[in-house]
């Protein structure tokens, strides 16, 4: 599959022609709808919510949020951000209900702290790994995005970002940027190892109890790779006491060797938390 992300900037790739082609393709409509429903399932919203749609494009993902019936906890109200004027123009023509912003997620999220109940992003955040200008780096843009997203969500809020990683390096880059911003993070893969593989980054804000924690969200789901370092590990052999700082550091080391993302070690590492996971 060709990856426009590797060669073009998003607002250049999604010009008027491409934006129209993208939005009217019934194949794309079906796939985007399925992924949006999957993301909603992971968000598990119980009542009408205020949601941010990052890289909302022409509104294929957002309009599903507006259409969730009352019996299923909707309808939701959403705000969309996108960098492509052509995609937003198509969204306008389609008369979507969300408020639209021409904005670059790599510049941050311009909402005050605790604004949104939840956020979704469908097929967009892989763009942050590429197409940097001379003044910015992917790492800097990822950091600004995830820091801004973290702040804009209410405590106990969640975000689900489906994205198309080019390879494991990108998966790791994105996940570690999210963890660094403070999120509890898990990667969920549907149909892994197939050409239909779909990757979802599931993010939680705050951890006041198991319910808000990522391990609770994705536990038991197939193909889930919890990369949050709070995950319980098997007791290590030898005299290192489970839960001690030394044990955690060893665990982190093992996880890092396996290519997983772990939280940066800090002076809080290994301290007792009020709530154990």
């Amino acid at each position: 599959m060709s990856r426009p992300e590797d060669t073009l900037q998003a607002d250049v790739h999604y010009n008027d022609t491409e934006a129209r082609k993208y939005t009217t393709s019934s194949r794309i409509q079906t796939i985007q709808a399925a992924m949006t429903h999957r993301a909603l399932e992971l968000l598990d919203l119980q009542s009408p919510s205020f949601i941010l749609d990052i890289g909302c494009g022409s509104g294929l993902s957002g309009e599903i949020l507006s259409d969730i019936p009352e019996s299923e906890g909707g309808p939701h109200v959403w705000v969309g951000m996108d960098i492509s004027p052509s995609m937003l123009d198509v969204a306008l023509q389609r008369d979507v209900e969300g408020d639209l912003f021409l904005a670059d997620m790599g510049q941050g999220v311009p909402f005050r702290a605790g604004t949104f109940d939840a956020a979704i992003s469908i097929s967009a955040i892989q763009w942050l790994c590429n197409a940097e200008s001379s003044e910015t780096s992917p790492a800097g843009r990822l950091a600004r995005f995830f820091n801004g997203l973290y702040a804009s969500l209410k405590r106990g809020g969640r975000a689900v970002c489906q994205f198309y990683p080019k390879n494991d390096v990108q998966k790791q880059m994105i996940t570690s940027a999210a963890v660094k911003a403070g999120f509890g993070a898990g990667l969920l893969e549907d149909d892994p190892e197939t050409k239909n593989a779909k990757t979802y980054l599931v993010l939680t804000v705050g951890s006041a109890g198991t319910k808000g924690d990522i391990t609770g969200v994705v536990e038991g789901m197939d193909g889930v790779d919890v990369v949050d370092s709070r995950r319980k590990g098997k007791t290590g052999k030898g005299e290192i006491k489970k839960g001690s700082k030394a044990w955690i550091l060893k665990k982190k080391d093992q996880m890092e060797k396996k290519g997983k993302v772990v939280k940066a070690t800090s002076k809080y590492t290994g301290r007792k938390r009020r709530i154990q996971f």
Partner: protein, 127 residues
């Protein structure tokens, strides 16, 4: 852009992050329109505690709407008062800024709104 959204929007310029003057943004030369939106009481009750009421009063005055009461209603008051629900719904969900600008009270940056879409792209030296 809905008045609801404006109540959560703050200036994106780096040096404004820590300033209290960068919120709320001030509408300038705003052209308004009213959309018909189906009322969603649960949504209103959900967002009510997150609304910055003082900022909403400022915005309401700046857009030429009647002055809002000093204090926001409680969730119970809102749920029990059909008229208040409807008024808040109209203000937050139906009133739209379709053309104009939003101005930051701290740095003076002007965000243009065209056809309801606000342009928040910043030149890189302001990020």
């Amino acid at each position: 852009m809905k008045v609801l959204t404006l109540n959560f929007l703050s200036c994106a310029v780096k040096t404004c992050k820590s300033s209290s003057d960068s919120f709320p943004l001030h509408p300038k030369e705003a052209e308004l329109a009213k959309d018909d939106v189906e009322i969603n009481p649960q949504l209103l009750v959900n967002v009510l505690p997150r609304i910055d009421w003082a900022a909403l009063r400022t915005t309401s005055t700046e857009l030429g709407f009647p002055t809002l009461p000093d204090q926001p209603p409680t969730a119970e008051e809102l749920e029990a008062d059909e008229k208040m629900l409807q008024e808040l719904h109209t203000l937050l969900m139906e009133m739209q800024i379709v053309e104009g600008k939003l101005v930051c009270g701290h740095c003076g940056h002007e965000y243009a709104i065209r056809e309801g879409i606000a342009n928040f792209l910043l030149p890189s030296h302001l990020v």
